[in-house]
């Protein structure tokens, strides 16, 4: 009787329609899920930014800025930022910092003279437990107004197989769509390359919001401004530089003593482009030295420390919040995939030289 009841039900058309209806409801939910997961639809997701990572990419390294060195240091607040933000780091005497200097090449074995981009990443942990993670570059601004522009820039500047240089037509098309990138191209062509991590200024590029004790908001960008003077190198010096010149220089300098950077906050005024990292704010904006970062020593990233830290700039402490800068929001997901991918490789024992194991030994084991 039980089985028959189902059969008789199914024979009736109305029931069939109901069953189809239920199937449609389920299918809609599954499709919505699959679309949200980026399984179809071809939309740009945060995973798209890592799709160019080759399958042969050495396990355990960061997918961008793979070559780096960990540092430890202390941030000493000046107290000058306290009126603008309730973040504990701005009031605390000594905030421990773990960070990383890196080269702006995806290749973890890149020679130090292969890119003009150098970075500082840092995580400040205040005594209230709040963490402030940041990732700063020596570039003064982002090339494009949004994250999709970065993908298009990469695509446009890819050397064509025929000529070995980027296709001028594609570059022109990119610059037409993202005219603000022209400014970056000019900066890239003319600005001097830094000859030392120590003398470089590192800029946050994205905008954030400070929140004071009354809940008042203040849009802000910041930079780590070096105490050491900026030094550059001539083209010939650069071409002759040793493979790890910048990292050796940093180690040598730290043997003599700590290096310092001022954390300089730049306060936006109404109308400043907060949501566009490709636009710099006017020169005369008010600046505050929120404190000084002392970098006391560096150590190899294979030893851990900064290696497994995701310097996701959207992880800000209470008292700082995110602006509507689209590149900032996009970095959260992209960093997360990069972090997750490499920590999986490390966690599951696939990483070799990234965690200080000899490469040969592992390949022999395979």
């Amino acid at each position: 009787m039980k089985k028959n009841s189902l059969v008789t039900y199914l024979k009736r058309k109305r029931v069939l329609l109901i069953v189809i209806g239920i199937a449609l409801i389920s299918a809609t939910l599954v499709l919505a899920f699959a679309y949200t997961a980026g399984l179809f639809g071809g939309r740009i997701t945060t995973q798209t930014f890592l799709q160019d990572t080759p399958k042969t990419y050495p396990a355990g390294y960061r997918r961008a800025h793979g070559k780096g060195i960990c540092f430890e240091g202390t941030f000493r607040a000046s107290g000058q930022a306290v009126p603008y933000s309730i973040a504990r780091v701005f009031a605390q005497q000594n905030v421990p910092v773990i960070g990383r200097f890196s080269l702006g090449s995806p290749d973890p074995y890149a020679p130090d003279n292969s890119t003009r981009t150098v970075s500082m990443a840092a995580m400040l942990t205040a005594d209230d437990g709040e963490q402030w993670r940041m990732k700063l570059n020596n570039e003064p601004f982002f090339a494009t107004r949004d994250a999709e522009g970065f993908l298009k820039q990469m695509e446009a500047y890819k050397p064509t197989s025929a000529t070995g240089i980027p296709d001028p037509a594609r570059v022109a098309a990119f610059l037409k769509e993202y005219p603000e990138a022209q400014k970056y191209v000019e900066w890239d062509a003319t600005a001097p390359w830094t000859r030392s991590f120590a003398g470089a200024q590192y800029n946050v590029i994205n905008s954030f919001i400070l929140i004071d004790a009354n809940g008042k908001k203040q849009a802000v960008r910041w930079s780590m401004v070096p105490h050491a003077p900026f030094t550059s190198w001539s083209v010939s010096q650069r071409e002759e530089a040793s493979h790890d010149f910048l990292f050796e220089d940093l180690k040598k300098r730290l043997e003599k003593g700590s290096l310092y950077w001022d954390l300089v906050l730049t306060l936006a005024e109404p109308g400043d482009p907060v949501n566009d990292p490709s636009q710099v704010w006017p020169e005369n904006r008010r600046q505050i030295v929120a404190g000084t970062l002392e970098v006391s020593h560096v150590f190899d990233q294979t030893k851990g420390g900064c290696r497994d830290v995701n310097f996701d700039p959207t992880r800000v402490p209470k008292g700082i919040t995110l602006s509507d800068d689209p590149v900032l929001a996009a970095r959260a997901g992209i960093y997360s995939h990069s972090h997750s991918d490499r920590v999986h490789e490390i966690g599951y024992g696939k990483a070799t030289d990234a965690v200080g194991k000899p490469q040969k030994e592992t390949s022999r084991n395979k």
Binding site: I25, T46, E130, D308, T321, G333, V343
Partner: protein, 211 residues
């Protein structure tokens, strides 16, 4: 549970009010949660916002499922309708316990993953849950994988649960679906506790069919 009681009583036709409220509240929260979770793994724009929702919502689900399990184990629940076979009944019961298991395991693996990754487990700015695992790449990888695999499995289980429930609501109309709602539909029970109720049950089956 029923066996603890001295007097034999008929199982209820409905889940108790607490169970019904928790079921629908958590159903909406969990469905939201799954889409928030999947969305924050892909969205260029909304990840920080979605993550700020994901963690407090997950914490709320973990607290609610504890209340729900206590409630589930403390009170008797409706029997399956007579038309549901023994195998189906067992499979449904198994699925229901697996669903409860997912409701517990998903928040815990999410919490564990953030702990092992060295992240703060931010409920609201300035309020963080304590870590439940030490920072460790292997534990992070394991918890991250577990969280993802279970979330996708959970979603498929929910789709199965929903389809079966709607089939009972719209096709079988056997009172199974209404046992978790507020509509008054008599359930036809799989076993007869009191001999006098047997005829009533049969009548009910007939009545349902007319609809």
């Amino acid at each position: 549970m029923a066996k603890n009681k001295n007097i034999p009583s008929a199982p209820p036709t409905h889940f108790n009010v607490t169970a019904r409220i928790l079921h629908w509240l958590m159903a909406s929260m969990i469905l939201t949660m799954i889409f928030v979770g999947v969305g924050m793994m892909t969205s260029l724009t909304w990840r920080p916002w979605l993550l700020n929702l994901h963690i407090p919502l997950g914490t709320a689900i973990l607290l609610l499922v504890i209340i729900r399990l206590i409630n589930r184990l403390s009170f008797s629940v409706p029997k399956m309708p007579a038309s549901v076979s023994g195998f189906q009944s067992k499979a449904a019961a198994g699925l229901h316990w697996l669903l409860y298991g997912m409701m517990v395991a998903l928040p815990l693996t999410g919490w564990a993953q953030l702990s092992a990754g060295g992240f703060l487990i931010k409920i609201v700015p300035g309020v963080n849950l304590p870590p439940i695992l030490p920072e460790n790449p292997f534990l992070f990888a394991l918890m991250h994988d577990a969280h993802k695999v279970m979330a996708w499995t959970f979603f498929l289980m929910i789709i199965g649960h929903l389809s079966a429930a709607l089939l009972h609501a719209w096709v079988y109309r056997d009172g199974l679906f209404s046992s978790i709602t507020w509509t008054r539909k008599t359930i036809t029970r799989s076993e007869n506790l009191l001999p006098g109720e047997q005829s009533n049950d049969k009548n009910n089956v007939g009545n349902e069919r007319v609809m």
